[in-house]
């Protein structure tokens, strides 16, 4: 476990503000983030968390770093993603779903109408497909996030190993470009 390298006094005074969200994903990338285990306590000395699944902030405010898990599946995902891009100086695509569409993009080979009918009318005791205005619009294809907004860094893996996430944060905290050595670049 390498400590966050030589944090200078400037960054010790001003903490970085980090926001994270899950779009169409499984939360596994966030779990990999939490796999930094007790280093989260050390991390909290250097960053403040804005919107993320661990806080009660519902919208992303101005931030230094935004981290996106998951693919773009519906209109709400588009909306949240744009809010992150507007507010975050650096935007990171974390994990296969955000980087390539990942597993959720498997639905791109099936016809939506057909699926809907089969899931809601063809299983259990049947019923109409949910259609309330409270439910966000679905896109007919699933997109990786860089098809919707500009992305600064891509971290592959399903999920990326926790060391890669730690390296990402420690590099950005000290103001470096992210450099991932080969063993931290995973595709499984």
């Amino acid at each position: 476990m390498n400590a966050i390298a030589d944090v200078d006094t400037r960054s010790a005074v001003r903490k970085l503000r980090v926001a994270t969200t899950s779009l169409g994903g499984c939360c596994g990338c966030h779990m990999s983030f939490l796999d930094i285990d007790e280093r989260i306590i050390q991390l909290a000395e250097h960053v403040d968390f804005d919107r993320c699944p661990l806080t009660d902030l519902k919208h992303c405010g101005p931030c230094d770093i935004g981290i996106i898990e998951g693919a773009v599946c519906n209109a709400e995902n588009v909306h949240v993603l744009r809010e992150f891009r507007r507010n975050c100086k650096v935007l990171v695509a974390l994990g296969a779903c955000a980087v390539t569409g990942g597993l959720p993009a498997l639905r791109n080979r099936v016809d939506l109408d057909d699926c809907l009918t089969r899931v809601y009318a063809g299983r259990g005791n049947g019923g109409a497909v949910p259609n309330d205005p409270e439910l966000p619009l679905l896109l007919d294809s699933v997109f990786p996030i860089n098809e919707v907004v500009r992305v600064d860094y891509f971290v592959p893996g399903c999920p990326p190993p926790e060391q890669a996430i730690w390296k990402l944060l420690s590099d950005l905290i000290v103001g470096h470009m992210l450099r991932l050595e080969d063993k931290l670049i995973r595709f499984d």
Binding site: E38, R123, G124, E134
Partner: protein
């Protein structure tokens, strides 16, 4: 069913939403309709996302499914991995699974129960309980708990870590590993891996016991409030072993009613689709399961920790059983249904999981190397079920002659709790919000009730949904990338 589900003329009311529900896994929102006097008329928990696993898994080879399908959920991937592999054992024609392989699967599964329960209690829910429902919204999170209760927060983080390490040692990765294969396991546990976990497990058990005490002590400060918060009487369902003890890996289905009378017992879970019906409602992507024998109005039920510790006759490990017994005594044997009691039950299960892990590590079979069953003829169809951290989970598959999946149906734990969660938020709205000026702290009470169920909205989004309107997706330069409309015949992709 509750009168607060649907009003006749929604336009007449003021709408408040909690969007997104925070400190839960995945996406959900709550909408509340109020009149001019702030009386609550309608409350709904909506599951707003979908992914479509059941359909896109069709055409994939059966042996791939246990690895693919765990991408439903990064918090309980092991449950999906194992529920799928239990079905695929049958489809692959596996005869008896060797004892070592079954024990390794159990070890992996109880590791997952432990890490998920620790995550839920410490990282997600403890801020409400330890800092207060109305505490500063910017501090009401795990970092706030670290500041106020550093040692407790550290123990919570390390409990989760231990569970994740058990998963890593048995499946190769902490998240989305590949340990189980149809017919057994693909990796033996080495003696040094066993010893590494064995030397930590006693500390883990000690911390787990303290966590149960902490919650009991907190709830004893105001029993009237903590016992009744979000209380909804309902049936309860879980898997039990042949002797009626809680078994999170395998057994038959048992259902009790709200008073604790057994309605169904030792039901073969392969017949789940005759026992459980599923209703669809237009305002949420998550279906509403119910017991066919009682119908949708009366047949809904709870699953998960609070249901499990009450449907089972007892737990197999001493410390956890002592706590369970005490919990039942406190209510004079009448089942408890308050939402926050889920936390006590969850921590009792966390303790139970730690004790089971210790017993498995002490079993000489655990480092055995006989990992794969013999195989007979392949079968076309099978059901796998397991008690995931959040409750009973069903995976049902059919494959064709080529071994490609041609039908898949999943009922995930959170779906089983759909009606119970909706009723719990309505209970809170009725008792804590109605007629009052709505504040952030009051709205957080709604979320506190949802969190108690530890819903995994990530799991719950496997079904597909519909496009009600039209949307255009443009790239950063404003060019049209993609457009969808309500009549999806007219979908165009640019």
């Amino acid at each position: 069913m509750s009168s607060l589900e649907t009003v006749a003329v929604p336009q007449k009311y003021r709408r408040i939403s909690i969007d997104p529900v925070t400190r839960v896994e995945g996406h959900g929102k709550v909408t509340i309709l109020l009149d001019d006097d702030n009386q609550v008329h309608q409350v709904r928990l909506h599951i707003v996302e979908f992914r479509g696993f059941e359909i896109f898994i069709e055409g994939r080879p059966y042996w791939e499914v246990p690895v693919t399908v765990q991408r439903l959920c990064g918090i309980c991937p092991v449950s999906h991995h194992l529920a799928a592999v239990k079905a695929m054992d049958i489809i692959a024609g596996a005869k008896a699974i060797p004892p070592t392989a079954e024990k390794l699967r159990r070890l992996m599964h109880y590791g997952q129960i432990l890490q998920s329960h620790a995550l839920h209690f410490f990282h997600l829910s403890s801020p409400d309980l330890l800092l207060g429902f109305d505490s500063d919204v910017t501090k009401r999170n795990i970092i706030g708990v670290v500041a106020e209760h550093p040692e407790l927060a550290r123990q919570g983080v390390l409990l989760r870590k231990f569970g994740q390490e058990v998963i890593r040692h048995t499946s190769g990765k902490r998240i989305h590993g590949t340990g189980a294969i149809p017919g057994g396991m693909n990796k033996a546990l080495t003696i040094s891996e066993r010893d590494e976990m064995r030397c930590e497990v006693d500390q883990v058990i000690a911390w787990a016991r303290k966590a149960v005490q902490l919650t009991k002590k907190l709830f004893a400060t105001n029993p009237e409030f903590y016992d009744r918060f979000g209380m909804v009487d309902s049936n309860m369902m879980s898997i039990v072993d042949d002797e009626g003890r809680l078994d999170l890996y395998h057994g038959g289905l048992r259902v009790k009613n709200a008073e604790g009378r057994i309605l169904l017992d030792h039901v073969d879970y392969a017949t789940y689709d005759q026992v459980i019906g599923e209703e669809v409602k237009p305002w949420t992507y998550m279906k509403f399961p119910y017991l066919c024998s009682l119908g949708p109005e009366k047949g809904w039920y709870k699953v998960g920790p609070l249901a499990r510790v009450q449907t089972a006759d007892r737990l197999s490990t001493p410390f956890a059983e002592e706590e369970r017994h005490e919990m039942m005594q406190a209510s004079n044997g009448r089942p408890v249904h308050g939402a926050l009691q889920y936390h006590v039950a969850r921590l009792i299960e966390l303790l139970h999981a730690a004790e089971v892990i210790r017993d498995l590590l002490d079993d000489p079979d655990i480092t055995g190397t006989d990992l794969l069953a013999d195989f007979g003829p392949r079968r076309r169809e099978a059901v796998g079920a397991i008690e995931a951290p959040r409750g009973t989970l069903f995976h049902h598959y059919r494959v064709d002659e080529e071994g490609l999946v041609d039908y898949c149906n999943l009922i995930v734990s959170t779906t089983n709790n759909n009606q119970a969660m909706n009723e719990a938020v309505r209970h809170v709205a009725r008792h804590h919000l109605s007629g009052r000026t709505i504040t952030e702290g009051l709205l957080n009470r709604i979320e506190v009730a949802i969190r108690a169920y530890d819903p995994c909205l990530s799991c719950a989004t496997h079904a597909l949904g519909q496009m009600p309107l039209e949307v255009e997706l443009r790239d950063p330069d404003g060019a049209l990338v993609h457009k969808v409309r309500k009549d999806s015949d007219a979908v165009s992709c640019g």
